[in-house]
């Protein structure tokens, strides 16, 4: 049996949940942008792996 969001409490919490969801999505986009900027900047170096390891 599926649980349906028909209780009033779901309505009240919907705004809060949508807000948290949007903030998490924005955080993901921010991390993506930061990562892109960091790895495309001039001073970024990949860690070197010693030969034979």
């Amino acid at each position: 049996m599926t649980i349906r969001a028909e209780h009033e409490i779901h309505q009240r919490r919907k705004g809060r949940n949508v807000g948290v969801g949007l903030m998490l999505a924005a955080f993901v986009v921010l991390i993506l942008a930061l990562t892109f900027v960091k790895i495309t900047s001039g001073d970024f170096e990949m860690p070197r792996i010693e030969e034979g390891q």
């Binding site: 209780h7 409490i9 705004g15 807000g19 948290v20 900027v37």
Partner: protein, 312 residues
Amino acid sequence: MTDVSYQSQPQEAEASLGDYFALLKPRVMQLVVFTAVVGLLAAPAQVHPVIAFASILFVAIGAGASGALNMWWDADIDGVMRRTSKRPIPAGKVTPDEAKVLGFALSGMSVMMLALSANMLAAFLLAFTIFFYLVIYSMWLKRLTPQNIVIGGAAGAFPPVIGWVIATGSMSIEPWLMFALILMWTPPHFWALALFMKSDYDDAGVPMLTVTHGRKSTRKHIFAYTIPLVILAVGTAFTSIGGPVYLFVALVLNALFLKGAYDIWCRDEAQAEADDYKVEKSVFRLSLWYLFLHFGAILVEALLPAAWGIWA
């Protein structure tokens, strides 16, 4: 039993997202963001806009986290004081535990993310600021000494230093001048407020200077703290973050502020009550513009081309 039937009796005053946001003290965050941005832009280094934006955001979140932790710790005081009685915890919308968890979680997240987006020194300074505001100020000295405001001002003074360190990765004298400006500005600003919000601090039992040393002494303290503030604020014009625009702004504002502080010192309670604390209220309002315009002038100097004769 479904989750719906289990939670069929929800809280009357269930918190909205806005209530959790209010825990972060948005007005304090505005000041933190502004002064940190000024510190970042006044620094002699270029930062990628994405890194600058993310870093300032993490500083703002860290400041908000310390605000939530302060509200958790001071919930008893906030409930008594008229100015703070509508905050989410005394209003019954958010529990103290929720504020504590949110505060600690955002503190950890903001410090770690600032270390990744900017550098370790900036992250350390943010962590120290949160520690200072929560432990040194809120937990320890706020309820112990009438100099609490002076110490609390130090926590609010760190953001421009953090902004500078985000850009440069190192320290120098200029961000500490901005630090000192906020530090010295805080006591006259808050004591002017305490003079006309008088019953609040008395009722809460916070050892505000007005309660412990009396109102006459508070008036003297406001003037005494204003003198070094004026010297510092005008003197900053002749450093690398100052310039003619800053000097002009500083001369006007400090003349007005010194006059206001002198007027407060010369008045007694009878005069103040007769005109409903007109001078104290106007000095408090001026103090808000005072800090905003000083940092605005530093920002203007940073954004103008460096071709200013003796300041170049």
